[in-house]
Amino acid sequence: MADPTGALAELIATARGGRPQSLACLEAEEVLNIALATLVELAVSNDRIDRLERLVAELSGRSVEDLREIRYEGEIAKERLAATDALLTRALRIMVDPRAQPRPSG
């Protein structure tokens, strides 16, 4: 049995043919591919969270809806907000990082 990375490498090694470009910029197209693949992985993670919520609900005797309605105030809310800020900064770094493409002089 291959590990997931080995399985993916074996699959990718068999693929043939070119990859015709649609967008005007190849780099943009590659980034779009990464973004869409990441979107799919986010859906996978959401499914995993959902499974855990259902399991916790079953084990705790509370409903899934009750668990999803839990809201934290105070310090915990601040912690979550800070974590969200950090996540957005990581994801959108390209938009807030002041470095620009070097322009040829003259």
Binding site: G6, L11, V44
Partner: protein, 374 residues
């Protein structure tokens, strides 16, 4: 018998995470197909034609010019890039569990293929070099293509075809209960007075889903099926045995059948015509006529991409030719199939083109049927 989304021994055992990933790819493709692609022709009028006109001083006319114009539309380009990415993700989502679970799958397939009390048979031809016009292309981007055969136990081509085909179909909103064999059986019931074959052939059977469904529906019928790749056929055979149905699989070329004249009273093909070029398609139809018994029936079913209203719709449809490895997509869509059937010998009055509703789901299928005199 269900043909999609059913369980058997040679399918990969998919983890919950892999199942989620496949579901997400289906959802992504469904969104692109249902909500984005339908806007392409409007984007052509709003963005592509004016941009082309500005560049060339006139409107695009020929298919090549219209294709060039489409690529001047940012909306079309965005959809095209996303659709190509989603198509590649189909194979990632099904290929990972296949290669991860391959040793177990091969063991189970080997046991089924070598079982002493088999229902069907597997007839591989080591001297046959799979037709390069199909074998040399990763059709619909399936890694390795239909004829991949890396060792004497290889079943990957079949496993990819079945599992990737399901993800593709669900993303096209083809119903989970739909069945191409079911469509042909319904046609036999409604158009041919409930004709029940005694000996039938399924040309271009791929992973054998339709072949197994015929064998289940007509348990008294001798069902034969053929395709070009040993890896595809090993999988199809093991799959049919696991499902407990009798199908005799053969490795051979659709355009050069090794069967004697008048062997079958029903010959079918499913989604084959769009995978082969004009010459091979015509030879296949001639061979179909030859191996049919007098009075026998032929049904060639395929995707409903023919007869689009304008040249712009036709060029938009040809995305698959350029970006999805479907090199004969347009050849099939524009072919005069009635002419081909007539040239092969089928009487014109028996040749009928059908626009068929799916068994389940909102999509439609194309089919052309005819009957050999006798």
């Amino acid at each position: 018998m269900k043909v999609r989304d059913l369980q058997h021994a040679v399918l990969p055992q998919v983890t919950a995470e892999e199942h989620s990933r496949q579901g997400a790819v289906v959802a992504l493709r469904r969104l692109l197909n249902r909500d984005v692609r339908p806007r392409n022709v409007a984007a052509y009028e709003a963005e592509a034609e004016p941009a082309y006109s500005q560049l060339h001083g006139r409107w695009p006319q020929s298919p090549r010019e219209i294709q060039e114009a489409f690529l001047l539309s940012p909306s079309y380009r965005r959809w095209s890039a996303a659709n190509r990415a989603a198509q590649e993700m189909i194979w990632i989502s099904v290929g990972e569990p296949i290669y991860r679970d391959l040793d177990r799958m091969k063991d189970d397939a080997r046991k089924l293929i070598n079982a002493p009390e088999k229902r069907g048979s597997l007839n591989l031809d080591p001297s046959y070099d799979p037709s390069p016009e199909v074998a040399d292309t990763d059709i619909h981007l399936q890694p390795g293509g239909y004829a991949m055969d890396r060792d004497e136990d290889d079943i990957v081509a079949g496993a990819l075809y079945e599992t990737g085909g399901n993800i593709y179909s669900f993303g096209q909103e083809i119903g989970r209960g739909d069945s191409k064999a079911g469509i042909a059986i319904r046609l036999l019931d409604e158009h041919f007075g409930g004709f029940s074959p005694s000996c039938m052939l399924d040309i271009g059977c791929s992973a054998g889903a339709a072949s197994a469904a015929y064998a289940a529906h007509y348990p008294q019928t001798e069902v034969h099926a053929l395709d070009i790749g040993a890896g595809m056929l090993r999988y199809a055979h093991a799959r049919a045995e696991s499902l407990g149905v009798a199908v005799h699989f053969h490795q051979m070329d659709a355009s050069s059948l090794k069967f004697e004249d008048a062997r079958f009273d029903l010959v079918v093909s499913h989604n084959l015509m769009h995978e082969i070029g004009e010459e091979k398609r015509r030879a296949m139809i001639r061979e179909t006529y030859r191996v049919l018994r007098p009075g026998g029936i032929v049904i060639h079913q395929d995707v409903a991409i023919r007869g689009l209203p304008t040249i712009v719709h036709q060029v938009e449809r040809d995305w698959d030719t350029h970006y999805n490895g479907e090199v004969h997509w347009n050849t099939y869509a524009m072919a005069d199939l009635v002419h081909d059937m007539r040239e092969a010998g089928f009487p014109p009055k028996t040749i009928v083109e059908h626009d068929l509703p799916a068994i389940h789901g909102a999509n439609r299928w194309y089919a052309i049927s005819a009957r050999k005199p006798g």
